[in-house]
Each structure stands twice: as C-alpha cells, then as structure tokens.
C-alpha cells in the first residue's frame, strides 16, 4: 500500500479531531460515530493493524475507511508538519487497497459501478447532460471565454440543478462570456479518486478531456469546488491543462457590473466554507467578497469558519453513499444548528453537495421556518431582481 510507511508515525494526539480554535469536534466521521476508530488517528492505526494482519478487512473496517469525508480538517490541524500532508493520501491508498481486496461497503460498490457504467453517479445517459439548462437559452460552448462545468450534482440533482441554473443566470447577468457542453461529459472523477479508485478517476478524466479537446476549451468555471479541485490538480496529470475557476472566483470580480434592487431587506448570512474550495484550495474570500458586495447583507461568522470549517459530510463519496448519516450529530445537522446559533437567516453555500446536504439537515432539525440554505449566486440574484429565473 502506498504511504504505509507513515502509518505508525501517527501518535493519535487528536489535534486532527478539532478545529484550530478547538470549538467542537470537527472530523465528520468522528463527530457522527464518536468511536476512536472513526478518527483520523484511529484509521491510521487500523490500517497499520490490517497490513500487519492483526485485524481482518471486514464490513466495519470498510465503513470506517470510507466514512472519511476527505474534508481535510485532519491535514489542516495535525500537529506534525510534513507528515500531515500525507494523511489523506494514506487514507485514499487504504481505500484503494480495500477495493483491491473486494471489501468496499455495498453503497461504495454501487456508486463506483454507476460511475463506471454510466459515467455519472446518477446512472443517467451522458447524452442528456445538458438537460439542466433547458429554457435558459445558454449557448453551446464555441468561442466563449469560459466553459461552465456543472458536474454530476449540478447536472442531475434537482437542488443541484437549481443552483447550476442560478449560477448560469448570474454569469449571464454579469456579462461573463461562457458556454456549456450539452452532452458527453462525465463525472469529474473527484469522488472516485477520493474513494481510492484512481483508475476510474483517470478513465473519467480522460473521457472528459477528449470532450473538452473537441470543443477547444481553455478556461473552465466550475459549479462544484470538487470539480475545481480535480480539474486543477488531477487533470494535468492526464493531459488536461486548463485555467480553472470556481464560479465565485469569477463572479467576485464581476459584482460591480450588477445592478441591485433598491432597499433590499436586511438579512444575516453565515457563509459555509466548502472544504474543496477552502481547505483544499485555500480560497476563503471569493464568496465572502460576493456577499459583502450584495446590498442588505450582513455577514455573520459561525464558530467554525475558513480553515476551521465543519464539512457538510458529503465529501469522499459520502454524498452518494450516505455512510455518515443517522444520529443527531451528523455533521450537516450540527452545521445547520451552528448557523442558527450564529443568528443567521440564511446559510450560504457555494457547493451543490453542501446545498443538498445542509438543506436536508435543516428540515430534519426543523429549522426551515427560521433558516434558509441558499447558494451564494441565489442570494445575489435575488437582490439583482431576477431570482425566479
């Protein structure tokens, strides 16, 4: 197994369980299950024990490994420099080894099968990729500056589609030159890679690169921070070199072009930093710039924000496999409670997975009367006066 030489170096001091300000448990799997085994250190020691044949690879071990949301809190807050950069790599390698051993949890197996067979997590035909944009009159990518890349959740999930449509509408309103590709694109592969299926990531990436080459795409705006991550970091290794931006990174600098409604009602907004935009790609400002530039918005910070953000629990494939759900302390439920405690009227998101996870959690927590989960573009668009597109 790759990186196995570092496993024993984890002391299990537990810095990885907490945010940098120690407010509360910040590892989604550990927060939800609370057993030491589900903490990053527990995973390290269990992997070592498995390789040393002290434990077998059973269903429990597989669940522990695949419940990791790859949120990067452990990497951010581990006390050991150098070592920490390899924590998630070791977990991914461990998942890869478990897949090789045929020990994936059924939900993981099913997800990977769909990605393999259909090219997306929803089992949908790639020919219908552009369905999400119906009625928006968006141009097919030709000579525009950017391609708008919506990935699986933005393409197929109803809530994700709403968000994709909102972002597209705002890009149009802001005069950003962009187009879409209506068919042929697959999943970005980020989740496949995070689940240890690096060969599948490569396959999906290469298929996407073929499509992108056909359209001569150079610059990409992603809806999902997960796409931003893999297009920036993984695709160059497969021959796909693009300038990649998350939509907030483009729109943050286009806010001056928008005309807002007069006297919008005041609203308190807590922004939820997505892990793959924040910790994985160190952008904590673009979305906040958008919100600060929006009339009537007062930003309030939750106890865990920026580097200390609490993951929604959807990363690492968990959005689809749902290994982290159940119990009062799923991180999405904890997160919406935290937003309510911060006095927010709106919990702002910038990732379609976060939108779905947190909206569901808000309903379970019965907070939907006092709190709304909205994408940053939806908040802005509402105040531009075209929120019902």
């Amino acid at each position: 197994m790759q990186h196995e030489e570092i496993l024993h170096r984890c002391f299990r001091c537990g810095y990885c369980k907490l945010p940098g300000n120690y407010t509360d448990i910040n590892c989604p799997a550990y927060l939800s299950f609370r057993f030491e085994t589900y903490s990053p250190g527990g995973r390290m020691w269990l992997l070592r024990a498995w390789l040393d044949k002290k434990i077998d690879a059973g269903a429990r071990f597989a669940e522990i490994m695949f419940a990791c949301a790859t949120c990067g809190n452990c990497v951010e807050h581990c006390a050991f420099p150098e070592f920490r950069d390899r924590i998630l790599l070791a977990f991914t390698a461990g998942k890869d080894a478990l897949l090789e051993a045929g020990c994936a949890p059924p939900a993981v197996r099913d997800l990977l099968t769909k990605l393999q067979n259909y090219g997306n997590a929803y089992g949908k035909p790639v020919k219908k990729y552009g369905e999400w944009a119906e009625g928006l009159d968006l141009p097919v990518f030709s000579d525009q500056e950017y391609l708008f890349f919506t990935d699986d959740v933005g393409t197929w999930d109803p809530r994700g589609r709403d968000m994709a449509r909102s972002v597209a509408q705002l890009l149009k309103t802001a005069g950003v030159s962009f187009g879409i590709i209506p068919e042929g694109l697959r999943s970005d592969g980020n989740d496949a890679g995070a689940m240890g299926e690096t060969a599948l990531l490569e396959d999906l990436a290469k298929k996407n690169i073929d499509v992108l080459r056909k359209y001569n795409v150079q610059k990409i705006i992603t809806l999902s921070p997960h796409s931003l991550n893999t297009l920036k970091k993984d695709y160059p290794g497969f021959g796909g070199n693009y300038q990649v931006f998350h939509y907030t990174q483009v729109l943050a600098f286009a806010m001056g072009r928008l005309t807002f409604s007069e006297n919008p009602p005041p609203v308190k907004i807590a922004y939820h930093d997505p892990c793959y935009l924040g910790r994985h790609n160190t952008d904590y400002e673009s979305a906040r710039m958008m919100l600060r530039a929006t009339p009537g918005v007062t930003l309030v910070e939750m106890d865990r924000s920026r580097k200390n953000t609490l993951c929604c629990g959807g990363g690492g494939g968990n959005f689809f496999t749902d290994l982290l759900s159940g119990g009062d302390d799923s991180s999405a439920r904890v997160r919406v409670r935290e937003a309510a405690d911060a006095g927010a009227d709106i919990l702002a998101v910038a990732c379609p997975m976060c939108a779905v996870m947190l909206e569901d959690a808000m309903k379970v927590e019965n907070l939907d009367a006092s709190l709304r989960v909205m994408d940053v573009s939806e908040i802005v668009l509402e105040r531009v006066g075209q929120g019902d597109c």
């Binding site: 170096r9 001091c13 537990g14 609370r34 057993f35």
Partner: protein, 460 residues
C-alpha cells in the same frame, strides 16, 4: 455472553454507541505508550449520567469489569481493560453545563475536553480561563483532574485536583453521588468545609467510580502575557533558583526543561516563567520582580535570562503547545511515554542526572523537564522517551528506560504520577502497609464485586 452483553448495552445507549467489533476492541486495547495491549469485550459510549448508571448496574449484574476512559491520552495504559470487560468512553458527555463568573468556577460533564472549554470561555467569558495541561486539547478535564494533573496555572493554583470544586460520580455499585458544595447546595463553589470525599476518586486510576460531572476553578485571564526563560548550567542551583522565582508569587506557570535538541539548548537547564497582567505597567512590575529575584546569578555570570525573539516567545506562550505531541515524531515513529514523578524540589539535580544516565544507558531519545506545583511546594519532574512504534526493539528500550526511571524516582523519594500498572506495584511496595490496607478496605466497600478497572492498584 459477549453478544448478550452488547445487546443489553445497546438497549441502554442505543446500538450506534456500543461495539464489540474487532476494530474497536483492537484500538481500545492500547494507548500511545509502551504498555502491552489488553483487549476489552465491548466499548460503550453513554450520553448521560443515567446511562452510565445503567451500564455500571449491568456490569455488576454480569460481574463484568468496567474501565472508564476520557480521551485515552494518559500514555501509561490506565484505560486498558486489564481483565477484559467494558470500556466506557465518556466523550459523548462533553457538555459545558454552567459557568459561574462571580465565583469563578465551571461545571462540565465527564467527557468535556480541555480545548472545548478553552474555546467556550474565550467566546462567552473572555475574562476567565482554566488551567490547561500540556496534553493535546482533546484531553478531558475529568481525566486530568482524576490523575492529579497539572497545567499552565499550576504555580498559581496547584495541581488540577486542587482546582476541583466538586464531583458527580457513579459509584461501582451504581449509586450516583455528589461531593463538595454541590452535595448540599446548588453551587459547585468549593469542596470545603465538608469531609473531602472527592479524594475517593482522584489518583485511584478509575478503580472507585466514574466521574460524570465536575466543577473546576476558573482564573482571571490577563490581557497582557509574557514569558521569561532563565538559563543555568549547574543543576544544583535549580532548587534555589526555583525557590527565589516562586517567592515573588508572580508567575502563573514555571516549567524547567532540558533537551538535547535543538542544539543550542543542549547542556543547559531552562526555566520558562509565564506570567500575565491586566496592564502593561503591571506586567513590567512583575517582570522586574522576577528578574530581581535571581539577579544575583546574572551578576555572577553563572545564569541569566535568555533573550527571546518574538516568534519564539509566541511559541512558548501558545496554550496548549503542540510541541509536546511533536516529540512523538522525534524518531519518526509515533511514540513517546514519560514518567512524571511528583517530587520534592530539592531533588531536582538528582532527577536530572538520573534522567541523563538512564537515557545514556538505554540509548533512548529523551526530553527532561518539570512543572512546578504551587509556590514551589513540589514538582512534577518528567522523563520523556520517544520511540519508534514500528521498531519492537526501540519500544522495548523505551519501556526498560521507563521502568528504570520509575525505580529511580522512587529511590529519590518521588512518586511516579499516573503510574502504569507495574509502577503501581512498585509504589505499593514502598507504601506504608497500613495505607495500602486502607485503600483496599475503601475499595472493597465501594466495589464489592471488584468490577472497577480491576488490575490497577493491586498487589498481585
């Protein structure tokens, strides 16, 4: 039997929070130190006192051992299930129940962590702080109090057990009792003037009950904070230096340290002196007092204050400091353990030399140091040894060094702190037999079925 146990525990805490799976049994069989594994039958995570009570009642019925566990960071294997049974992982009970700012105390649940309390106070009571140990922030308050821990306010307030104001405990027979003022009134402000029953649960290594709530003292948080580092070369001077520095009654924390790395530190004895003040003027006044107390040594050019660049000062002031955890990576092997011996201050030089000799003899990577407790009333002198977990020979060397250190500490009149099970036996050997007989008598009354963390504080 085990499946029945798991099922019945599941009825108490919910099936999500009990496990008899191989993964949990493996991981909870050991801690980060050198003690060999001892495998539990089950791990359970109660959500409140009532669930703890029911778990203990079940254990009594089935005559199954119960081992309470906080963060499991004691390093000396005290949360291993030496005779099997149930490990009660307390970390779901991590709520901060009450802060009384005027009487400066906080009441927390038994699994509340140091870091979470620090964060809570920073947000809600920025003028208050509690004494943080050097343990990682996930370490529990209850665990540290119960082992007589110490921390960054220990010169000011003594051991963390001295800062305890009361407890709620589930006894080994399942009754829920309170100690201190909270047993008489609503307030958790003091252990006095009642018979001090809290002592029944501190230092006993989890053999007398499970702490479900506790009150601890809070202290003023200063706006201005500083640290001085005094450096000497002669270990024999240290008791007098410490005596003079503590005589000023200014420091919050004093921590001597002696390490071979970084190179500039090798061969020197350093004392970090942390202090704070509400105003800059007060801070300067306190600094002057500390400096004046040991000026004689500087004048003789045999010791003096180390000039500290701001980044280094910042590192020394960071609470908790991750540097201690990082010591575990010294040998790129994820392991360290230490003997922390509670000792008289005049034994400082003996302890220092013993530590060097043992490190040399066993060829182990070491870090030596101490924390002064109270106004120089005693110290916790630590002998820490890093080891490579993947190298069995290295682990054995560290283990041998620790055993030799326990022996040396006892010979110097010190007492190993949070002693491993073998070290407990060494202590018992030296203990007044009547004292041990009293311990046994108390335990037999509290725990007639012998279910609480058995294997600890036993002669055989």
């Amino acid at each position: 039997m085990t499946s029945d146990l798991i099922a019945r525990l599941g009825k108490i805490v919910g099936p999500r929070f009990v496990s008899g799976e191989a993964e949990e049994r493996y991981l909870y069989s050991m801690d980060q130190g050198t003690m060999p594994p001892a495998v539990p039958d089950a791990v359970v995570m109660p959500a409140d006192t009532e669930e703890v009570r029911q778990v203990v009642a079940l254990a009594n019925e089935l005559k199954v051992p119960v081992v309470p566990m906080g963060a499991g960071l004691v390093l000396s294997g005290l949360t291993r299930a030496l005779k099997g049974g149930i490990i009660v992982d307390m970390k779901r009970m991590n709520h901060i129940i009450e802060v009384n700012p005027k009487s400066r105390y906080v009441v927390v649940e038994g699994g509340a962590s140091q870091g979470m309390l620090q964060a809570y106070l920073k947000k809600h009571h920025p003028d208050l702080k509690h004494s943080m140990p050097d343990a990682p922030p996930i370490a529990t308050l209850a665990g540290n109090v119960c082992i007589h821990g110490s921390g960054h306010l220990s010169v000011l307030g003594g051991s963390h057990s001295d800062m305890l104001t009361g407890m709620e405990v589930v006894l080994p027979t399942g009754e829920v009792v309170r100690t201190g003022s909270c047993s008489v009134s609503d307030g958790w402000f003091a252990r006095s003037p009642l018979p001090d029953l809290s002592g029944l649960f501190m230092g006993w290594s989890g053999t007398t009950g499970i702490v479900t709530k506790l009150g601890i003292k809070l202290f003023p948080k200063y706006r201005h904070n500083d640290v001085l580092v005094f450096v000497a070369e002669d270990a024999d001077l240290m008791p007098e230096i410490i005596y003079r520095l503590t005589s000023t009654q200014v420091a919050e924390d004093m921590t001597p340290w002696m390490t071979p790395k970084p190179d500039w530190a090798r061969g020197f004895l350093h004392i970090n002196i942390a202090y704070g003040a509400h105003t800059k003027k007060e801070l300067i006044f306190k600094r002057n007092l500390l400096q004046a107390s040991v000026r004689e040594y500087a004048d003789q050019k045999i010791a003096g204050f180390l000039p500290l660049p701001p980044p280094q000062k910042g590192r020394f002031l960071k609470i908790p400091s991750p540097d201690l955890a990082r010591f575990a990576d010294l040998r790129k092997g994820g392991g360290f353990e230490y003997v922390g011996a509670i000792m008289a201050i005049e034994k400082f030089a003996d302890a220092y030399r013993a530590g060097l000799e043992i490190a040399e003899k066993y060829q182990v990577s070491y870090s030596l140091g101490a924390r002064i407790i109270g106004a120089g009333h005693c110290m916790m002198f630590f002998f820490a040894y890093a080891f490579n977990r993947a190298d069995a020979e290295d682990v054995r060397r560290a283990s041998d060094a620790l055993e030799a250190t326990n022996t040396a500490a006892l010979e110097m009149g010190g007492i190993p702190w949070k002693a491993e099970e073998p070290a407990q036996k060494q202590i018992i050997e030296k203990m007044d037999p009547e004292t041990f007989a009293l311990m046994e008598k108390i335990r037999s009354i509290l725990d007639p079925n012998g279910i609480m963390n058995p294997g600890n504080w036993e002669k055989k």
